[in-house]
Amino acid sequence: MSDTYTLYNSTVMDHFMNPRNMGDLKDADGIGEVGAAACGDIMKISLKIKDGKIEDARFKTFGCGSAIASSSMATELIKGRTVEEAMSFSNQEVVSALGGLPPVKIHCSVLAEEALKAALEDYQKKRPSVPAPSRTTQLQPMAV
């Protein structure tokens, strides 16, 4: 076979094969770990925040290719944003940046949003002056 056939588009495959920001952050300012009840995926995002700005982000994901790609993309997108901006982050951004996901895999991008929001919540818990992030979905993320 000459061509390569893929389940996901090339952007998703690239983020799955070469994930950006994979790992943990030492001394993270906020950590969120969430799970998707639908399929059992688990995603963890760690943030380094300085002067109200996300300086660095890392992820770890137990899940399918699109879950890994979604967390990779989400961390990419979020870096450099203010906490305020990040609070209105939506999974749609991940989907568009990835050039689309199969319908059955959209929940992976939701998981990335949830992990990010959980990390921001965790950050706020430690710094109660910051307002809570807004929710764009119904899922209940949970910080650990």
């Binding site: 389940l7 009840a37 688990i42 899922l139």
Partner: protein, 421 residues
Amino acid sequence: MRHVFLDHQSTTPVLPEVFEAMRPYFIEIFGNPSSLHQHGLRVRDAIANARSQFAALINAESADDILFVSGGTEAVNLAVKGVAYANQRKGNHIVVSETEHPSVLSSLEFLEKQGFVTSKVKVNPIGWTDPAEIRAAITDKTTLICVHYANHDIGTIQSIAEIGTIATEKGIPFFVDAVASAGWLPIDVQTMGISLLSLTPHRFYGPKGVGVLYRNRRARLVGVQHGGVQEGGRRAGTENVPSIVGGGLAAEIALREMPIRIAHTAKLQKRLWDGLKNSIPYIKLNGPEPGPQRISTNLNISTEFIEGEGQLLLCDMNGIAVASGSSCVSKSLKISHVLAAIGLDHALAQGNIIMTLGKDNTEEDVDYVVESFQKIVQKLRGMSPMWDEFERGIIDSVIKPAGRGKSFSEHAAAVSGKAAH
């Protein structure tokens, strides 16, 4: 890059000689067997020949006991519904093992809506159905027993002859779904007490587009695809002649080469499992150990702390074609019901990979897979929060519990706010 096809359970390539046998039936010998002229009569002979070839594969009493349908799924649907409807006056109860293929279970769900009742017999932790439990489930309303020969996911071989004896004794038709085993396990419908059996040649180097339902003449069966009077009135529709012809030859070759194919795949199966378990920690074999209880082509493993689709995709990127029973891989987002039936922990079901061997796999293939798979697992574990938490003692292993931390499932339930399913 080496290419290793390890998904022979999903389908196989057609043998070159099988393709050559099919070739004239597309253009030159294109007739419809229902036609009474040269073109029709000529293909009738070809179909009759294929019927004998399939009959030989399973030692059917007569070639007339072979019905041609469009595939494995249709053969199963015809067996289950066709026997249920035909015996509707006698009873409405069907006994079935819980690890049957969806084609059996969904056909039964359909029948349940029409008033039929099924008893699902449980399997043990390696997926084996105890014949005594089949016997216990039979009532005086039972008109059909359905137990597959080898399981499509975990390769467990069922005790067909024993169940056949019970069925014969009770006078109840016994349907064996052999789609995952025909061509790879010896089958003798007569000595095994089988009344109906389904198979499709695309699992043993024959074409797609054809399935076979064997039914002995004592088993009453009505057609479920209605129309013309093809196949003795039991299956309407113009026959897929090229696939029937090719399938027949594939059956003949499969019968002849079966001992070699079994020996070859059994050797590779052992080498592969040995290689994997010796190089990868926290990996589990699902179903029986390689040996007489397991079909020689199948390995079903669970790699702990990582999910199946990622493993599958990375295998594919390394030229290795495999399958998975994890929920992320299924269109329904559910783990394989077979893994659920053997009581596999959800975390392990998520990490599931199915490797199925074929006659053309080599030892080099196997060694390449072991080497690649080890790296793949390492890469994915490096990305997995579970592996990290396991290493940090927050969660425990299911495969080798060390008595520390909570279980993966407890953890997953906690972070998702819901129990895993």
